[in-house]
Structure formats: C-alpha cells, structure tokens
C-alpha cells in the first residue's frame, strides 16, 4: 500500500447482499495484504440512482452510475465486479471482457449452460488479450477449506475413496414464509440446487481435485404454495392469487461420479431445520480423511490413518495459525475469522492475478463446468433419476455406467 502503488479501479455492478460482501473485501484486503496493485472503489452501478447512491455512500464507492454499459467506454475503470442476479451475468461479463475489463463475476456463473458457455468463450478470447476473468466461489478461500485442499493435494488422505457434500439451510422451513422472486423459476432459474448446491459442487471438486462426470438426482419442492405479498403479486403464474406457486426446487439430492470413478453424495436443502449455513464436505481416502463445516469455519477436521492406531481420531484443527492459508495476514493465533474474510482473500488473489497477468481460479471454464453439473442433475431428475453424463465428459460417464452394471452382476 505504498503511496506510489498503481491503482486498480473497480466498478461494481449491483448492490445487494453480495455487493456488501464484495465491498468489504475490496475495502479490507489492502489493509491486511501487501498487494501489487491498489484496488480503488471507483464506481457503483445500480438501476435506481437513489438506492445506488445510498449503497455507494454506505460502502464507500466514489461514484455511481445507473447504466452498466457506460462502464465499457470509461478509461478509469479496470475491473468490472458483477454482483447482479444470475440471469444478467452473461451479458455484462461478456461485454466487459470484450471492452478489455478484467471481470470478477459472482456465482453462479449464469442460469443456463448456454450462457455459461458463451461466457467461458468470452473469457478465453479475453485471456489472449491479457484480460482475466474469475468466478466468485468464495468458500474456496475460507482458510480451512483451502487447507483441506492442500492436505488432499499433499497426499495426506491418500487415494480418495468417496466424497460427501451437502449445503443445508432452513430458511424456507416455515411454510408460511412468503413467496419471493428466488422461488420463481422464471426469475431465479434454479432453487436450492443452483444457489447453494453450486457451492457444494465447486467445493467438493476443489478440495478433491477431481471433476464430476455423471450424476443421478432428484429435485423436490416441499412447500409448493406460499403466501403472496403485495410486491410479489406479479410473479409468473401467480397473478391474482393469494398464494403463489413455488416453481423451483427447495431440496436437491444427487449422487455424482467423479472422473476417477469415485462416488459422491450431494444435498442442497432449504428445509434442514436447525441448519443455518451448513456447507459440509467430507473426503475419505486410503490414508485419511478431511471434514469441513462452514458453520464452524475456523475449523478443519483431519483424520490421519497413518498415525498409531491407539492415537487415531479426527483432529480438530483450529485454522488460525500463521502456517495456515491466508491467516498470517490477520490476527494472532487463536483469533478467529468470519464469513466475510473469504471476500478479502478473493480480492487479494484476483488483484495478484491481474498484476501477474495470470489466470485466477476458479476460471469461467470452472464456472461453466459447475453449470453443466447442475444441468445434468436437472436432466437426471427429469429422467427418473437415471444417470446423466456431464457435458464434455461423456466418455467418462459412459464408462461409469458400464462399470456400474458390471458391479451389479458379479
């Protein structure tokens, strides 16, 4: 943060919950990390000028605009940070990349595979011009999750044998909580699967270092009618009624096969009563296991199957030591971090990639691949849960099915 450091001027498009989180990341990262470029909160874009201005003041953005397209021609903007709803990501990101802006796009990358493919293409083209793109699966940057990946990559769990991943919340458990646009397929695209299931998929692939090639799943809408509030009367298919129809899933259960043949079980739920933000991953291997729970985000559980048998057990690692990923920049050992710190880590890694001209991860291609897994789950659910290959991994998936049949006919 030396006074002569070059600024990296950011325009953030959107200002909902994710806008607050990204703002906190941009504001805080340079206070704790030595960054090669100085992120500058230049411009906040929102359709409603008053609301945008209020958000900009609250979160510390210098200027506001109401049309994101105006950003494309501005020379004083280096980065476009997209925190709008998913159905607008494709257009904004592609245009921004085309205009030579680096892009950080909140997850999910898009609401359809087609959009995501176009975005990945745009990112690939931009990459050749030195412009980078990244999708915001921030939970990878919770230190305990990064440590989990590091331990797996270092062989501390040996050969992976199975994966469990679930993201469980209960914010729809009350059947009388009202209809919102998030429960309307026309607006939201997907329900629990796309919103929180996407995190479970990305994190499972990130930590295991393996990609999902085929899935078998089921989706369910547990509460199908919800009270309409005045402001939600206009949602598709609900006009005039006192209750609106929930048209997205609020429970998704699926089994995945990774390219290696390893099986994983996945769940995304809005009805897991008492679970508030329980993104849990467990990776079991021939030499150990790791288990992570976002509700205890400073902790990683690690089982070392190579320890003396009498001393084996899950070790509750408090991931607050200088030796742990990202942690050294913050507080002394034992002083915990929270949800928002992932956004500072994301800002740091993004800035470093821009400065180095390197590809940040997860890339748009990674985001596309998650989108394809989500799509495959939906297609499997439509096909009575039979196995569906994740696009571009057809070969692996067909092998899966054969293996699977052999297993059943010993």
């Amino acid at each position: 943060m030396s006074s002569d450091s070059t600024p990296l001027r950011i325009a953030m498009i959107g200002h909902g919950f994710m806008g607050a989180a990204h703002s906190q990341g941009w504001r805080t990262a340079p206070r704790f990390f030595d960054l090669p470029l100085q992120p500058t909160m230049q411009l906040l874009v929102g359709r409603d000028e008053d609301a945008a201005r209020e958000a900009a003041e609250r979160w510390g953005w210098a200027q506001v605009a109401t049309d994101w397209r105006t950003v494309l021609d501005r020379d004083d903007i280096d980065v476009v940070d997209i925190v709008t709803p998913g159905d607008s990501h494709a257009e904004i990101a592609s245009a921004a990349l085309e205009a030579g802006k680096h892009v950080l796009c909140e997850k999910p990358l898009a609401t359809t595979v087609e959009q995501a493919e176009a975005m990945a293409d745009a990112a690939a083209r931009a990459r050749s011009r030195g412009v980078v793109a990244m999708v915001g699966f921030t939970y990878r940057r919770v230190p305990a999750a990064t440590l989990a990946r590091d331990l797996v990559a270092a062989g501390r769990v040996g050969e992976i044998r199975q994966v469990r991943a679930s993201y469980r919340q209960d914010w729809l458990a009350d059947a009388e909580s009202p209809m919102t646009w998030r429960l309307d397929k026309a607006r939201a695209g997907s329900g629990a699967l796309g919103d929180i299931g996407a995190h479970a998929i990305d994190l499972a692939q990130f930590i295991s270092g393996q990609r999902i090639s085929a899935v078998s799943g089921v989706l369910q809408t547990i509460v199908q009618q919800r009270p309409l509030l005045a402001e939600t009367r206009g949602l598709s298919g609900t006009a005039g009624a006192e209750r609106g129809t929930v048209s997205v899933d609020d429970l998704a259960l699926f089994t995945a096969r990774f390219e290696s043949g390893v099986l994983g079980s996945f769940e995304a739920s809005r009805f897991a009563t008492g679970r508030k933000n329980a993104l849990r991953i467990e990776v079991s291997g021939s030499a150990g296991a790791i288990a992570f729970d976002l509700e205890e985000l400073n902790v990683l559980q690690f089982f070392d199957a190579r320890a003396p048998i009498a001393e084996q057990g899950f070790t509750r690692i408090l991931v607050t030591e200088p030796e742990h990923p990202y942690v050294g920049a913050w507080w002394p050992a034992g002083h915990t971090l929270g949800y928002e710190h992932g956004f500072s880590h994301q800002a740091k890694d993004f800035v470093e990639a821009v400065s180095a001209g390197a590809q940040p991860t997860p890339s748009f291609a990674d985001g596309l691949q998650v989108q394809r897994v989500l799509d495959a789950v939906e297609r499997s659910a439509h096909a009575a849960s039979s196995w569906v290959a994740v696009a571009d991994t057809v070969a692996a998936a067909s092998t899966v099915q054969e293996t699977h049949q052999e297993e059943m006919q010993p």
Copy 2:
C-alpha cells in the same frame, strides 16, 4: 425376579459376535428390569460341539447341542433365539415357529425377499396360535433412538420434511485387509447395504414413523481384489488365486421416497475413513429436528423451532435421566450406557411381549419390509439408478414417479 417367577427357557442357535451380545442381554436384563417371566439360558446350539461348549461355558448357557432341529421337539425350550448367518434364518425360524417356539431372529431377517416373505407368513400363522416372532434391529432400543421416535411421535418436530440416514464404518478402508466370506456374495448375500444399510433403513423408518415406498440407488465395490488367506481360498470364484474377488458392495448410496412423499438420503459405507460405527439419523420437520449418532449413543440432538428464536439451537440431550426410555432401570443420571445395553432392552421387551401375548416389534413383517427396500435398491442399481418401487407399495411408488415428473416440469 421373584423366586416364584415362571422361567422362559431359551435356546440360542449360533454363537458368533451376535451370540455374545444376545447372551449379555439375556443374562443382564432380569438383573435390572422386573420381568414377568424369568429368561433362562438353557441351551446353546452350534455345529462344532467343542466350540459350542466353550461358548456355552463362557457365556453361561446350561447345555449345548449340535443340531438345531433337536430343539423343535424339546418341551423345555420356549424361545428360539437365532444368531446364525442370514442365509439360515428362514429355515430355522419357520420350523421353530411351526413347532410353537417364540422366535427372536437377528437381522437381517433373511438374504432374499422370498425367504423373508416365507418367514413373515410363518410368523403370521404362529401369531394366531399365540406364538410370537421378532427381528433384532436392536438400535431401536438405544435410549436416544427411542427418545427420538418418541419426540417425533409426540409432534415435537412437526410435519416431517426430510430424512438423512447413513451408517459409515471404515473397516475395509485398508485395501490390503484380506478377503473374507462377508465379501463373497454367494455366502453373504449382500455387503454394506444389507449388513449396515439395513440398520439405517429400519431406524429411519422407526424414528420417522413412515415407510419407504420407492428408491433410487447405486452400489459400488471400491476395492475389488483382496488378498486371500489360506482359509478363504475356497470362496467362490477365487480358487487358486492369490487375490480373491470382492463380489458385494462396500458403498451404497440411495435416495428413498417415503409413503408421505418425503425424501430421504441414505448411505452405507465400509470406506468412510475415521468413522468407526457412525450410524447417523437426522429427521427435519416443520417444528424441529432430531439428530442421532451411534458413536455418541447416549446423546440425542434436538432442535425446537418453536423456542424463542434467540434461544434456538440443537440441544445436546444426555439421554441418561430416569425420564428417558429404559434408562430408569440402570444407573443414576449422567452415568452412560454402551452398545450392549440395547440387547438387554430387546430381551426385556421380548419377554414382556411373550408374557402378554402381544406382538413384539419389529415384527417379521417389518423385517420383510426392510428386505424389500434392500431388494429395491439392488434393482435400482441394476437399472442405472432409476426409481424402483418397494414391493407391496407399488401404488405409492408410481405416484411418486408422477409427482416427481410434475415437479420437474413446472
């Protein structure tokens, strides 16, 4: 245990690990519970006389025999307790019931649906003659599990929304642990699914009070070749080889639909590194949730969604109070029980049912239903994980599939 109490004379067929557990149950139950009949450990039956005699001495059985058929005509035997491998259950149980003996049969009821049906028929016929039959899903009688059922039945979790059940162990995680008869389909019938998955199914149905009507699942054999020891050279298809072929599943993942339409996720694994005996059940409802883990068997987690919001959370109930099921007969509050106590509770409940002429639970019909679920999972696994109705619940299952398709086409 008054001196004039009528004895209930037991013959136990078999004497493996389960024989030790049942013996401990028969021996201990009358010391802590006031029973209407006095269980008497009369006869232990084992094919090898020396081994049977050694077991009888060790565990306190008065006599031994080598042929279980001799029990049928003995007037001094009231109960036949079957702890042999699953493939012999059907013949012994049916004959014993026919001979007028009450029968306690260890789970799984049988290794095929056909056998289980025959047993359930035999039990129904016997019932009309005042003879009772029970299958040994002992985990129902862990006080915390019984309390979970009680809370659900009392409406403390409200309307059930989803179920999670898994039984995870790691005793096959070492790829070099040798081949055994349990891994040979010809002998064992099933792998993790039938052995431990059956417990997860029974417990989930018991606690939820609902039956599974359809399933979609996959089975996997993670390590397919294992070293042959001298004594396992004769296993089917393995003669002469240095490695034997594992012909049963060691990982089973499936999704179940209960008759109410509720979805549940299930897992049975021998490769969950670091998990030793982790039978876990979570039932989420509109008013609360319960969660149980057999590795912490004195504890029930209960979430009360009707409590003031600021005070909500999972309550860790130490299930050791006199107010808890079965517990009052044992030690003061806070003094924990172990795995084996379920067998004393089973003995108590069985003796009481015999004395009262009442049907003990789980009945053979209950055991048959679990067998049908297991069978449906295998059939689904053979059919690329597409949904398969549990027999005798076809109507419900086909409804499921329709509902399921509707959900996907909003």
Copy 3:
C-alpha cells in the same frame, strides 16, 4: 473360564447403588476376560434380611447374611467386597484383612484420615501374609482414562506443566430437593469434596503420575436449608423442624501443588447446572495435552504438539479399538462401552492380582493419600484458604510455600 478353574468366592457387604455396580462387574468380567480364578457371587450381607434377600436374588448372589462378622470365620469366602457407607469401611476392611480375606473396598477409603491410616496399616500387614487389598477408584479403568495415563507415561505430553480436574454434577441444583443423609456431616463425613472430589483427585494423580503435596481451598454450602421428608426427620440437628440443615459442602474449589511443583486446579460441585456427571481432567505438557470427560467416556482428546503445526489440534480418539486398554475383550471397533464396564475391569484386575499374589492398584495406601488430600483441603478451608501441606509430604509443601513467595518477589 475353563471348567476346572478355581473359584474365588466373594462376600459383598452392602447392597446400595454400588452393590449393583459391583455385582454387574463380578457377573460380567468372567464372560469377557479369561480370568485365572473364577469369581463366584457367594454371599450378600445386609442388615435387613428381606432387603438383602431381594437384592441377592436380583443381582445373583447365592446366599445372604445379616451380620458381616459372620463372614470372617467362613472358609468358603475368599474375598470381602465392601460397598457400605464410608464410615463403616475401616472396621470391616481391617477385620476382613485380619481374617485373611482379600478386600476390595469402595471409595472413599474412609471418612477420616485416622481410619484410613489404620486401614493402610492393616493392608500392609496383610500383604506380608499374601492377602491383598484394593480401593475402588473405578474411573481409572475407563479405557479412555487408562489410555490417558498410558500416553502421559509414554511421554506423549512431555513434561507436565499444569493440571485441571473437576467433577461437576447438578443434582442439588434444585433448592427444594429434600434433605438426605448424604447432606448430613454426621452421617456422610463430607459432601461434594469427599464424594466426587475424591474421584477427581485420584484420577488426576493417576493420569499425571504425580502426587499432590499441598492445597489451598474453599468449601461452600450453597443451599443451607432443605425440606425434611418424614424419613429424614431424625438427622442430626434437624429434629422437629420442617427444614433440615445441610452440614456438608456442595461446592469445593481448590488449588493443588504436586510434588514436582506443578499446579492444578480442582473443583467438585453439585450445583453445576446442566452438568450431570462431568468428571473432566486436562493435563497440559511441554509436548502435548490430554483431556477427558466422563460424560463422553469412550473419548479421549489428545493434542500432539510435535505434529506439523498446520495439522495440530485436539484429536478426538474414539477409545474402542482392540489396541486400547481393556477394549479388545468387548465388542468390535466403534461399539461403545458404558459406565458399568469399569467395574468389570476392576473385577478382572483384582482377580488377576489375587491370583498372582501381586499388589492391586489403587492400594489402601493410595486411598489413604487421597484421604489426606481431602483432609488438607478441609483444613485449608478452615484457615482462610491458606496453603496446607498434605500429611507425609510436609517437606515438599513447605518448599512450595517458599517457592511461591520467591515467585512473587522477583
């Protein structure tokens, strides 16, 4: 348990809660452990013949007697097992040892140091005649506690730096729970300190391998008046009143110095709301730490300070492996034990010591030492919590005081 094994014939004096626990130990130990002598439940002694007979029938003792003195001359009794209230231990134990009977005496050894000294003397004399005596601090034989001792002894925590021990219950937390003889000093001798604090002291010394040499403590009676029930009207100082006076402590807090100079904090409480049987020990050392909680008795927490820093944390060892103390005789890995199993382990160890002519532990001398610590705590409490040396460790204690002053004046 071969048919020719020599019996070891036991007479148990008393039949309260501890009688049930000891009976379960004698009955069960030979079923799971190969013992060199065969414990035989020969005689139960109780003052009230009907009550004694009922207990004998319930727990499986062959005969009853009403006067413990008649045991002394019987040739068919090898062992006297004392489970009466503490104030009768000294007389019975000394007489039994004198008569050549091996003695197992429930804790606390006695209610005064003088009695305990006499008992230790009697045990020493008996020892020279091949007769052994043991005091029943059973919690040493919870496998996780034994494992803790083993790890400490093997140097896995390095040099001990401090000790924390507490035994917390809440069974007096209700101020309206009635007066009992346990709350009357004339009958019970001591309150929480002597009853449960004694366990904390013994276990802390056992696991650390160090003895306490001086203490500073305070005692408190939180609720001083309690309702009198009809049957407690006769308690000392309470006749005619509607409320009786609690004359023992229900909260004891003290600091101890071990002979090595290490400090430990101790607590015994009947008012720890929500804690049911929370005997907790934590031993911190230069190379690691262990932590144990009786409410989770199958678990030992172990911190290995020599592990790579990024992987350090408390490991939750599920103490159910064959490699763990006592566990191999019971159930497969992951199948938990309960409170009562310590009594089977005690029976096993006692029988083996008798057979081998070896001194079982804890000896009466060990019990005496605990009594002296309890006594020193009471004396310190009377002396405004100033430090009091544990008898026979005066030298160490006075050193303590000097060191302590030096520390304060650097």
Copy 4:
C-alpha cells in the same frame, strides 16, 4: 452515513496489534451500522515517524504525528483512542480527558491501581463536562457474550450459583521461545493475570452482573529462564546473560467471591497446550446455565432447567440471527463473524454514547475495579493464597470470611 452527518475525528495513539484491530473497527463500523456521528480516522500518533507513516497508510489514517501531546491542543480531534502499552495509559488518558477529548482506552486500564484510580477520577471530572471515557474490554461485544449477559439479566439462568472463568493460551508452552518485554515485570507490570486474566474477570462480571469482592489466588512462573535475543538484552536484570529471567506470572489460578456470596474459579494460563484463545465462561444458576468459549465465538451454550426434563441439555445457539445482539447489521443467518467484529461493535457503541452524551460501558470505574481485583490476586498470592478483599469492597469481603468460617464449622 448520510452525507451531512457530523464527523467524529479520531486520533489513535499507538499502532501495534491493537492499533490494527481498532482501525478495522473505526473503518468498518459505519459501513454496517447507522451511526449518529461519522468516525473519521484523522491522525495516527507513533514515536517513530516512519513506522507511524507506514501504519497510517496501511490502515487508512489521514495524518501522522510523533508526539501525542500535540493532540491535546488540536481542534480537529474529538476522540483520543489509546492503544499503547499499559504503563502509558494513565498519563495520556488523563491529559486527553482534561483537554476535553473523549477517550477510548485499551485494556488493561493501567498497570497499577494508583494509576487506574487517577484515571477514574479524571473520567469522573470529565463526565461532568460532557466528555466520556471508556475502556476496551471488547469481548463483551462478541454477540454470544452479549447474549449470555442478556439471558442472565432476563432471569433465564435464575439465581446464580457459581461461575467458572478461564483464559487459556499456549504461546509460552515452548520453553525455548525467547524472552520478550511482555515477560519483564518492569515493562509489562503483569503476566498472564493482567493480560488475559483481566478479560476473564471483566467478562465474568459483565455476564453475571455481579462484582468480585474478595479473592484467594496463586501465581506461578513455569519457565523462569528464556533465551535472550539481541534486542532483548537490555531488559532489566538480564544484561549480558544468554538467558533472561521471566519476572511475571505465566499461570494464575484464583478463587473469587462475588458480592452476592457466589464463588467463582478463575484461571489465566500461557501454558495450556493446545488451547489457543480459550476464554471460557460458565455461569450456573437455579434455572439454567450459559457457557461461552471464545474459540467458538459464534456459539453460546444455554441450558434451560425449566424445559421438560427429557428434553433438557445444553443448546448450541449459533448466534447469527437478526434477533441476536449486533448481528442484524451484518450478514444473513448462519454467516459467522470473527474476532475483529467486536471492535466494530465497540466503535458503534462508543460513537452512540458520545453522540447521546451518555456514559459508555465499561467505564474507567469498571476498569479500575478490574485492576483492583488483579491487585488483590497478587496480594493474595504474596500472602500464601489467603483471602484478600478487593479495595472499596472491604465490608463485603470481611463478611465473606466470616461466612466462610461458619461454613467450615457446622
């Protein structure tokens, strides 16, 4: 954060670890809370100009100065925020208050009771002129700790029966970690007791709503000689040696009596191997209990003794709901906070008090009282752990001693 809000201009004196934390608080609070005044990071003061400038740039302070006295006359400074070592607090705070600046002073208030008294006097005088002073016991503002206080104040634990408080770390557990000024009494004043024990005292008093009136304690220096680094050669009494003498405690154990007569046990340790930042408080009452652990700072454990017995247990409240203190301003339910958030809460509360002309808590008088408790512990340690009254609470303390003797002579 409306554009016309009045600024509250801050000068921060010092820039160590606490400077980073305070800066993060000042920077972040107005982004999440609607504050009546706008905190402005105007001036950072440090003796070394280069270091001060670097810190100011990193943390976002507008200007720097090298002499804190220059602040006194500046009209553009409203608040003096003191984060220097404890021995300078008294002089700076008193002068600032005298000059009409509001003061936020990091804990401990001072290093001696005399200094603290002078500061409390200065604060009282300033208060009459509308100038406020506050001491920074930030842990009060961890939402779970505040919730604990709220539950106790609302009677949810009933009448308090006992308190347990400990603050345990292990950063001195390695005997070869080098000498630092914190281990030199001449510089640091106190060791574990004053540094972390002070937090335990404040938090115990805050949550219980009761003040400590007398103590009995012991202090220990476990490792008395440590390697000298080049930069610590000059520490008092250590010149020229290769090892320096640790002249402060690294373990403090004490018992406290609150004014109500309730007893509490306290510990502050730097040698609790494996405990990184374990500030734990448990308050047990007639109707319930609360338990808090800073290592799990988003969680409060609450036991409700009025719940149905079969449902009682410690409830693990994830303190991330809008209904919880401070939480509504941050993220959605289930999204956790970290260590640093307490500093934003502190900033918020301080700004609100300044704006309202109200006394913020904890006041300097509260800080003085903690200092008196620390002093009493040291005096008790010098007096062989006999009870010492906390100054200004002599009456209560002498009563304590009498009660205490009565208890011992029933």
